[in-house]
Amino acid sequence: MIANVLKLTTYLFILFTLIGINNLFSQELDNLFNSSNRTAFGNYLFCEGDYLRAIDEFKSVLSSEWNDSLQFKIATSYYRMGQFDKSIYEFQKIEADIYLNKLAKLESIRSFYQIGDYNILRDQINVYFITMGESQKLSKLYNYSLLLDSSLLPEKSVYLSHFNGEERNRISEYYDWKIKPPYKNPTKAAIMSALVPGLGKIYANEVGDGITAFLLTGLFTYLAVDKFQNNHTASGWLYASIAAFFYSGNIYGSATAVQNYNAGIKFNFNNKVKFYLNERDQFIPIPKYLCD
């Protein structure tokens, strides 16, 4: 009796083990290129960051049957490779799955932000508002984007109404900067350099260049005057023209130096805004569970 039970148990044990092993290997491994195997391999590549190869796998699966979540991964792959126009194009194809459709719209808005085309970014946000309803976070992105290009800002009170708390103070500061940027005046720099050679350069924060311009102009003016006083007219004119060359070049250069100074100020401001936005993922939640 006991022997029979033991025999039966052993038998069942072996049976179930074998069924288990059979199941383990029955991932239809007879064909590595069927849809489920390609999807599995594609997911593996995607999670390894091997995006181009992953895209190839996903695309070949999609050619036989459509699947929004794979399409979402294709688009995300392009985004992560920094090919934003392609990611936008691919995100657009996601329609059937309501949840993914919403995520895809948000992600293509993120792509437009990365491209830096803020006009289209705002258009896209407006379209999103119409089709999917208002979103407070997106309207923040909308208003931040106004700081990044040359578009007109709304009234300060209207503008600030989208923000509150500490963020409101910060954005108020940005708003004031944008309305009245602390630029310097190129004409003023040119006039300053016309009066005292090099002064305009110092005004433009280029102290070394300013001193150099002063020394060069001064030196050649001195030589010219000295030559004329000693009746060496020819070399007098030579030094005078060199002096004039440096004098006029410095007036011109002071104006361009201020322009470059202003460009730097603007660059830093834009960077500050972008840094703030990127720290907050552009107010768009990062899609989860792409790698599982």
């Binding site: 001193i211 150099t212 440096f246 070049g249 361009t256 470059n260 500050k272 990127n278």
Partner: protein, 145 residues
């Protein structure tokens, strides 16, 4: 500092492509060493405008012989040719005079110019044409191509 960090993060994440993000093929094996070459490239073989002749003459007689003085890219003579051909002779000369002054600045601050891939300071003519729209501001950390 934060901004610098941010730029580094952005660029390492997005622009430094992984090896396989573009298809590639067999590469030619080349053991040879790169020769920088003392002389500038002469242009008069392809174009014979008086300006390029002047520049090539200057290169041949002067700039090839007076040592490696120009810390900028493009070099002062190329800057002059480019400035004149993009604007006009008077404006180009003014731009060149300004460049010459900045070149003579002994306490040149490297913090004011981004670095070109050649290792020189990047200082393009576009930034000195008196048009705000042509100015491209590069952050100091960026290596310009």
């Amino acid at each position: 500092m934060k901004i610098v960090l941010f730029i580094i993060i952005i660029f390492t994440n997005l622009t430094i492509a992984q090896t396989d993000w573009i298809r590639w093929g067999k590469a030619e094996v080349d053991y040879s060493l790169e020769i920088e070459g003392v002389e500038d490239n002469y242009n008069s073989e392809t174009s014979s405008s008086p300006l390029t002749l002047l520049k090539d003459g200057y290169s041949f007689l002067i700039s090839d012989l007076d040592g490696n003085n120009c810390p900028f890219y493009p070099t002062c003579s190329s800057f002059f040719v480019e400035a004149v051909s993009r604007t006009n002779f008077v404006k180009g000369t003014l731009m060149f005079a300004d460049r010459f002054t900045r070149d003579s600045n002994l306490f040149k601050s490297h913090e004011h110019y981004p670095t070109h891939v050649s290792g020189k300071l990047y200082d393009p003519t576009e930034n000195y044409q008196l048009h705000d729209s042509t100015i491209i501001f590069y952050s100091i950390e960026k290596l310009v191509n």
